[in-house]
């Protein structure tokens, strides 16, 4: 297992270098000069060139790329064009907010989706099954921004249970976490139902019932545990999607996260911030997928990695 993990970590390095090269190349072909955007249309050509030189964006790629990699391995991703703050600082400040939001959304998805899916599977073909899957369908179908605005209007504005936007504190986390987690809850419910149904039809469970195990022991002690593999895979993938997809929720709820920061960076052509943010999210993706693979081994002892 440790050798497997080490191999995965080592393979991350060429992946990040490749992404870095791609980002630099893409920036070369993207219209819009960051210095010109920062200085405005009426800035003289001389001033634009001075700022471009100060930012190093007019250097050739064979100088820019090695310089960036050399600095990045030391933790220096450069200064943001927009704020002139270290990119690492901006990411360190915003990523925990995004991670907190994404994890909270995942918790919501799990707390709602898993029981719903198990219930639907154990009551297959009944009205409970139908209602559960309709709820799941609604959750997947309604766009997250609609849910978000509805939550704000009902629970924040009308009922006053939560702040509308922009207030610090964990109370501000509830509505965005639920809005973000609901579509994922629907997916988790459907996957759980499907996986559980597959397990519930297996011979070993018939044997377990024949041996006199209670239904709860059969469902939760055996079937559910074996159904977890695809569910864990889905949860891992969903965390990645949640991390990347928080920008809409962050904007509506004024949640100061990495998603909205990168969006602003793209509009501003803030190359250092875009690079730092994208590479960081890629790293997180890799880490999450590695964690999922390790969890497989814990859940199912038959799974071993070379």
């Amino acid at each position: 297992m440790l050798r497997y993990i080490a191999r995965r970590v080592i393979l991350t390095v060429p992946m990040l270098i490749g992404m870095t090269i791609c980002l630099f190349v893409v920036f070369q072909f993207t219209p819009g000069n960051p210095a010109e955007i920062a200085l405005g249309e009426i800035a003289t050509r001389e001033t634009i060139e001075q700022l471009s030189s100060a930012w190093g964006i007019d250097d050739p790629l064979y100088i820019q790329i090695p310089r960036f990699i050399f600095n990045a391995v030391q933790g220096d991703f450069g200064l943001s064009f927009m704020t002139q703050r270290p990119v690492a600082d901006d990411i360190a400040r915003t990523f925990p907010n995004t991670m907190l939001l994404a994890l909270s959304g995942l918790v919501v998805a799990t707390l709602i989706g898993l029981p719903l899916g198990v219930l639907a599977a154990t009551k297959q073909g009944t009205i409970v099954d139908t209602i559960s899957m309709v709820i799941a369908l609604l959750g997947m179908s309604v766009p997250v921004f609609v849910t978000a605005m509805l939550f704000i209007y009902v629970f924040a504005f009308r009922l006053g249970w939560f702040p509308v936007a922009g207030e610090p504190g964990l109370r501000s986390l509830v509505l965005p976490a639920v809005a973000l987690g609901l579509p994922s809850a629907a997916e988790v419910a459907r996957m759980t139902r499907s996986s559980m149904l597959d397990q519930l039809s297996q011979d070993y469970l018939r044997t377990a019932r024949a041996k006199g195990l209670r239904p709860a022991q059969v469902v939760y002690g055996h079937a559910f545990r074996n159904a977890l593999i695809p569910i864990v895979t889905l949860l891992g993938l969903r965390l990645g999607h949640l991390l990347a997809g928080t920008v809409v929720v962050e904007t509506i709820f004024s949640w100061p996260g990495l998603g909205s920061l990168i969006l602003d960076a793209v509009l501003f052509r803030d190359y250092p911030l875009i690079r730092g943010g994208v590479l960081f999210i890629a790293l997180v993706f890799v880490a999450v997928n590695l964690l999922v693979d390790v969890l497989y081994g814990l859940i199912d002892p038959r799974i071993r990695y070379a």
């Binding site: 249309e41 002139q84 703050r85 907010n97 704000i152 209007y153 504005f157 922009g166 004024s254 100061p256």
Partner: protein, 551 residues
């Protein structure tokens, strides 16, 4: 022009005073909003009450600032902070007049040298006295070739500076430049560099720990969250009434409005237009309006067929019904523009008749004169070519949803097929100087530019926003225009300068290079507990005179 619009424009252009305007409004049936505003200044219903010191307000803005150092950031969201923690050398009032700020007076002692006499008794928030040496540090920092500041891009005529004594400072320009002081009034030219603080915290951290001379000083900032300013007790123009001002970013319009209505914030800056009537009918809130110095316009690229035909360019001007744009896309929250420069901005000439009236018959007559004949599909043709052009624009506060579609419909009525291309503004900005954009929806205003150079930027062949390429189809006409612009740029006699700028506007009218469209209104809303709130046509947001009812 409609009599009511004429009356409104006359009032905003200061050709008639408020009393005369109110009389005309009553006669013409112009409804004055309950806020008492109709461009310029909004006064609270309780303005007659004496202001009360103390209290705090929470202001929700659309975006959060990136930095509090104007050397590094020129975003509007940061600008509202600069309005309150910094001062400018000169201050523009809503009527366009330039008044002393940190500079008590100024004089053009040589064609390329302006002498500023600084206000005495001003201190920075850290207690440092404000002197000419501070200005030297500030301008040297901005114009450092190794790290030019954002204000450098907006002060092209600047060449160097000189400290004469503690309270006398000279700015030397590259060429004679009569409007230097005008160019020093925008918030981007705020005097923001305190040497003591920069050396103490470092340049990078200064944006989070600024020191200014303004009515409020920085207290705390949770980046991405609340930014809190507190009153400067030693402000040279008197302590502000408020103890604290908190800025909070709520990007989503609906959320921002709900935050006001739930009581979480006291003031929202930028109100969705469709919400204005509802808020105006609600006695708990006060809507503030101000017609801005911004002018939205269409730039025509003369080198791109069929726009190289003057009759086609003129036809575009006559075909667009601006009143419909204002009524539908702006819900009445804008004013028809008759010139590229807005009333109150240097270069605006109230005596000119340079607007394109809505006259589709005239538009069609011009097209037929040029040989454009209506085809079977309703689109005009000539020599096998269709009368069509691409219109590039970015949707935003100055070109909201619907404007481009209305223009498209208007042009279709005269047989012109306008192809709409909605694109990101930075992409359009990159392509405009290359001549790749046939028609562009742009906007100009105090927040993005400066006064002195607006006419130069737009009409001189080397101007940063000309984009018309007139020289490609009529080099002699461009040379003639350049000569007028150059003469106006260095003319120190205000009357002569205004006359010359007037010639530029008339030239534009004759050549149809830029079609002025409208001046958008700026909208904000407060609770009725907030008083003497103030919307400036230059889009400043100054809290110096604001006060709140005691609890």
């Amino acid at each position: 022009m409609d009599a009511r619009l004429q009356a409104i424009n006359d009032f905003l252009g200061r050709r008639i005073d408020r009393r005369e305007f109110m009389a005309k409004a009553a006669a013409l049936g112009i409804v004055i909003p309950a806020s008492g505003a109709f461009g310029g200044v909004a006064r609270s219903a309780r303005a007659q009450d004496a202001p009360v010191a103390g209290g705090r307000i929470v202001i929700a803005t659309k975006e959060s600032p990136n930095s509090m150092d104007n050397h590094v950031d020129s975003a509007p969201a940061s600008g509202v902070i600069y309005d309150n923690i910094y001062d400018q050398l000169a201050v523009i009032h809503p009527d366009g007049s330039i008044n002393p700020g940190l500079a008590a007076s100024w004089e053009n002692i040589e064609p390329t040298r302006w002498r500023l006499t600084l206000r005495q008794g001003v201190t920075w928030h850290n207690g440092d006295p404000f002197t000419a040496n501070d200005l030297k540090y500030h301008f040297d920092r901005i114009f450092d070739p190794d790290d030019p500041g954002r204000p450098a891009g907006l002060l092209a005529p600047y060449q160097s500076n000189e400290v004469v004594d503690d309270y006398t400072f000279d700015i030397i320009t590259k060429t004679p430049y009569p409007l230097l002081i005008n160019d020093l009034t925008p918030r981007w030219q705020s005097i923001s560099s305190n040497q003591t603080q920069i050396e103490a915290v470092g340049v990078t951290a200064y944006g989070e720990h600024p020191i200014g001379t303004g009515p409020f000083k920085f207290k705390s900032w949770e980046i991405g969250g609340s930014l809190i300013l507190e009153a400067n007790d030693d402000y040279w123009d008197g302590r502000p009434f408020l103890d604290e001002v908190e800025f909070r970013a709520i990007p989503e319009d609906s959320s921002r409005l709900l935050a006001l209505e739930s009581g979480e914030v006291d003031f929202i800056y930028v109100v969705p237009r469709f919400e204005v009537p509802r808020l105006q009918d609600d006695d708990n809130y006060r809507v503030l309006e101000a017609v801005t110095f911004v002018t939205s316009y269409i730039t025509i690229n003369c080198q791109t067929p069929p726009l190289n035909d003057l009759n086609v360019r003129q036809a575009i001007g006559y075909a667009i019904k601006k009143e419909d744009i204002i009524a539908v896309a702006f819900e009445g929250q804008a004013l028809v523009a008759d010139q590229l420069i807005a009333p109150g901005v240097s270069g605006y000439n109230a005596d000119l008749e340079t607007a394109w009236p809505y006259d589709p018959e005239q538009a069609m007559a011009l097209l037929e004169e040029s040989g454009w004949v209506v085809g079977g599909d309703g689109i005009r043709e000539k020599d096998g070519a269709k009368l069509t052009a691409d219109f590039h624009f970015s949707v935003g506060s100055r070109w909201p949803d619907g404007v481009a579609e209305i223009i498209q419909n208007n042009l279709r009525d005269i047989g012109f097929d306008l192809v709409l291309m909605e694109r990101e503004s930075s992409v359009i900005s990159a392509e405009l100087p290359e001549g790749l954009i046939p028609l562009n929806g742009g906007a100009t205003g105090l927040g993005t530019g400066n006064f002195g150079q607006l006419n130069f930027e737009h009409f001189h062949s080397t101007g940063g926003r000309s984009y018309c390429f007139l020289w490609t189809v009529d080099p002699e006409a461009q040379a003639e225009l350049d000569a007028i612009v150059e003469a106006a740029t260095v003319e120190f006699d205000e009357a002569k300068r205004l006359e010359l700028w007037g010639q530029v506007q008339e030239f534009n009218r004759a050549q149809a290079l830029k079609i002025p469209m409208y001046h958008p209104k700026e909208l904000a809303a407060t609770t009725t507990e907030v008083h003497d709130t103030y919307l400036h046509p230059g889009e400043y947001l100054r809290m110096k005179k604001v006060w709140v009812s005691p609890e």
